[in-house]
Chain length 368, copies 2
Amino acid sequence: MSIYHLTPSIRLRRTPFTRRVSNAGVQAYTVYNHMLLASYFRSVEEDYSHLKRAVQIWDVSCERQVELYGPDAAKLLQLTTPRNLEFMHNDQCYYIPMVDESGYMLNDPVAIRLASDRFWVSLADSDMLYYFKGLANGFGLNVHVFEPDISPLAIQGPLAETLISNVFGDKIRTLKFFRHRLIHFQDKEMVIARSGWSHQGGFEIYVEGSGYGEPLWDCLFEAGQSFDVRAGCPNNIERIEAGLLSYGSDITTADTPFEAGLGRYCDLGSATECLATKALLEKQSPNRQIRPIEIHGPPLSSLTRHWPLSDGLGNSVGQVSSSAWSPDLKINVAIGMVGRKSWKEGSQLLVETEEGSREAIVQNSFWT
Amino acid sequence: MSIYHLTPSIRLRRTPFTRRVSNAGVQAYTVYNHMLLASYFRSVEEDYSHLKRAVQIWDVSCERQVELYGPDAAKLLQLTTPRNLEFMHNDQCYYIPMVDESGYMLNDPVAIRLASDRFWVSLADSDMLYYFKGLANGFGLNVHVFEPDISPLAIQGPLAETLISNVFGDKIRTLKFFRHRLIHFQDKEMVIARSGWSHQGGFEIYVEGSGYGEPLWDCLFEAGQSFDVRAGCPNNIERIEAGLLSYGSDITTADTPFEAGLGRYCDLGSATECLATKALLEKQSPNRQIRPIEIHGPPLSSLTRHWPLSDGLGNSVGQVSSSAWSPDLKINVAIGMVGRKSWKEGSQLLVETEEGSREAIVQNSFWT
C-alpha cells in the first residue's frame, strides 16, 4: 500500500482518544473533517479479519457533530434532505442524504433525534456546520447551530454486543438497529446507538465531554480483554464489501442521491420542505449510478486516483472510486459510477488501473 | 520533526500538479480543504533558506476557489465580511476575515474582484462554499455559487519577479501588491496576482483548466533553472516570522477578528451589510488577542497540540498555536492567544511544551 508522510499540526485536530490510538500502535492516519482518523493498526488485511471475528474500538471523533437546537431545528434539517423526517422518533437515527438546492450531495450523515426541537448530525467529510449556519441566517430561523463537545466512539464486530452488555448491562441487548438510548458512565449520561460504519454490527457512544474519552476507552479495553478487543478503525475492505459509500470518494457534490444509489431515502412526495424536492423530481432517472464491481485478476493496490471504466470498444462508461483486495472473497471488490448503458448486472467492462488494464464485471449487489 | 503516515485516498484530492510535486521530491504532506498540500521538500529549514534567497514554485491548489457570479455576488460576499468591499476595484485582491452572524471567524481568504458581479474567493481551510450556498438559498439571492476549475500556483521568493518577467514579459514588474491582471499561457488567458503566503514577495497564477497545470509548471522550471528554482510550499518558519496566521491553527470559529488581531480589516461604520456588524461592534475590545511570542532556550520541535501559557504565578493566560525554530533569528518564534493582562510587549510568560516548561516573552511585532 502506498503511503505518504503527514506533518502534524494543530489544524489537523487531535481527538479525546488520540493518545490511546497512538499507544495502540496506529500505523497510518487519514484526515477527515479536519481531524485525525486512524486508517490501520496491524495491516488493513489483518484489521479486517479481526473485525469480522472479534470486537474493535474505533475513535471516530472525526464524525463531527452539529447540534441543531430550537423551535426551527426540525425545519432546518428538513431543508437539507429529501428524506422525510416527520415521523422520526426521539430515539431514532436516520441515514440521510444531504443535498443543495439543485439536489447535489453535500454530505451523507446520520441524524439523531433527541427531542422534537433537538438533533445531532453526525457528519461525513464536509463542513455542514457552515451550510446549516448559512441557511439559518438566510431564512431567519430560530435555532442554535453549533458543534457540541461530542466525540463518537464506535464498538464494532460480532462480539460488540457481548462487550457492551458486560460493561453497561444486559438490557442493552434490546436496543434495536439505528435506535439510541442513554447509558451511564461515571457521573455522566451518554447517548449510545446501535450503529456504525461496518457490516459487523455494533454501537456508537456519543462521548459528551472530552475528559471522559480516555477513562471510557480504558474501561472498554479492560472489559474486552477476554474477547481479544483491539483498537480499530473503519476498514476499507470491509466497507467496500458492504457497499458503505465514502463521501468525498464515491459520492461528491457532482452527484445526486439517485446517482449515488440512495433513491430509497428520497421521499419526494412527502419531504416537500426540502429545498431540492423540485429539482430532484426531475432527476429520478439518472444516466449513471453507483455499482458494485468485481475486478478480475490478482490483488490491486488501493487507488489514489479514479480508474477510468470503458466498455471494451473504447467508449468511456464511468470510473472506479474505491477498490480493495478482499482476502475472504479472493477478488478485487470495487465501487464505481457507471453509465446507464453499462450498469446492468453482468456487464463486462475494462478498468484502467495504475497496474494496467483489467477486466471487470458489474455486480447485482454488494457482497455482504 | 514528528511525522505520521498518511493513507492516500480519492477523498484526499490530488491537484493538477501532484505528479510534478511528487517527482520534485516532496517528503511530507498536509491535508487542506480536502486536498494534498506539500509541507516540505528537503527539510523545513533548508526550504526556508532557499525561499529567502531564490525562487520557489508552490502548488497551492488547496486554496480552493469559490466563484460568486451574478447580480447579487457583491452583496453575498459583503454579508460574510466586516471589511468594506464597496470601493474594491476590478483588479484588486482583498484579504478578508469572514465571520458568522455573531462575529466568529469562518475563514480568512483572499477575495479577487473580476467584475462588479464576479468574484473569486481563495480559501483557507474550511468549506466556505457551503456557507455561501446556505446564505444564497436563505436570502434568495440571484447569484451562482460554485467551485471553478482553478488551481492557484504560487511563485515566491526574491527572484520571483525576475522569473515571471522572463516568462511573461517585463511589463509584469509594474503589477502592484494585491492587484491582478491577465497573462497568456499557450492558448489561455489566466489571472495573475502579486500575492502569496510568504513575506518574500511573489505572484499567484490562478491556473484555469487542470490540463494547463503540468505544462505551466514545466515552463516555469525551465525558465527558472539559472535562478535555482525549486519546488516549495508554504513554510512554517517563514510564515510565523512574518505573522501570517493559519486558519484552523491560530484562528478558529472560537475567535473574533479582534481577537485574531484583524481589527484593521473591520469597517464597522461602513460595512453595514455584513451580518456580524452589530455583534462585532460589541466585541471591539477583546480580552485576549494574538501575539508574537519568543520562546527562550534551544530549538523546540513543532507543536502538535496547544501549549498552555501561564504568568509564572500559576495563572493561565492563554496558549501557543504555532511555533518553530528560526535558523536566521536563532530563537523559537511563536504565535499565541494571550489574555489582556499579559499581552503587552515584554510580558514574561511560561509555556508548557512537550519538552518541558520554557520562559517566553511577548513581542511588539512579528519579526519580518
